[in-house]
């Protein structure tokens, strides 16, 4: 079963992260990297992506003739996607356990960040065979 694990944060949160000490940032990254490596070893890793700073986000709408209308204005409270993992696991509980590990990744002073990780099942393009 494929799940996507979403890590999000507000602009304020991201700015805060940028202000961590180098050591704290490296420790945080090391834990996340370790999780990815474990998932590869366990045969559960499908994909992961880091998204660039929310400051570069654009919101696009289409005009009737296809012209994009673009702006970069978002509410202060908006939660931006910062990155995700896609995993292929046997049970939903396993997806939650992996998400729990991500959530525990350390912040300043090594204290667990306890970030909330959203877990969503991915849609598939397969039909059931029974028809």
């Amino acid at each position: 079963m494929k799940y996507i694990l979403l890590m999000s944060g507000t602009k304020t949160g991201v700015d805060g992260y940028h202000a961590w000490s180098q050591k704290d940032i490296e420790a945080h990254m090391a834990v996340l990297q370790g999780i990815t490596e474990e998932l590869t070893k366990s045969g559960e890793f499908v994909a992961s992506q880091g998204l660039a700073d929310p400051g570069e986000a654009k919101l696009v709408r289409g005009e009737k003739n296809g012209t994009p209308v673009t702006d970069g204005i978002f509410p202060e409270s908006k939660e931006f996607l910062l990155g995700y993992w896609i995993v292929d696991v046997a049970t939903p509980e396993r997806a939650h356990a992996i998400a729990g590990r991500i959530s525990v990744a350390p912040g300043p002073g090594g204290v667990p960040t306890n970030m909330p990780i959203e877990v969503r099942r991915l849609a598939i393009y397969v039909q059931p065979q029974s028809q």
Binding site: L32, A57, F80, L81, P92, A99, S103, E118, A123
Partner: protein, 130 residues
Amino acid sequence: MKYILMMNSMRAGHGVPQWPQKDLQAHIAFMIGLDEELRQSGELVSAEGLSFPDQAKLVRAGKNGVPITDGVFPESKEFLAGFWIIDVEKPERAYAVAAKVSAAPGLGGAPLNMPIEVRPIMSAPPPEML
């Protein structure tokens, strides 16, 4: 340059669209056509659809490694419905594709005009992630 184009769930209640058959079919055909176009042009890197938000779970680290899982989200939360990752020459192309997604037909065949968030993807192992 890689960009992610993100589409949020369409309506309050997050249920399936309740349009007439004709409009559903037009919407589905549009999305299939768009995927095909991006595949043919070699710009499509990946595309995923997410299951409906009513099945979303929020997980936090609990005590002793046991995660705390619940399905409670703030009222205002926007849920991701799907995304495309495309590899394009310039940002303008990414915005043009996003505009196309935005104009997907909905009720009565009218363009939905959904707001599509466009973000650059980290190309090298990023500072924030892996």
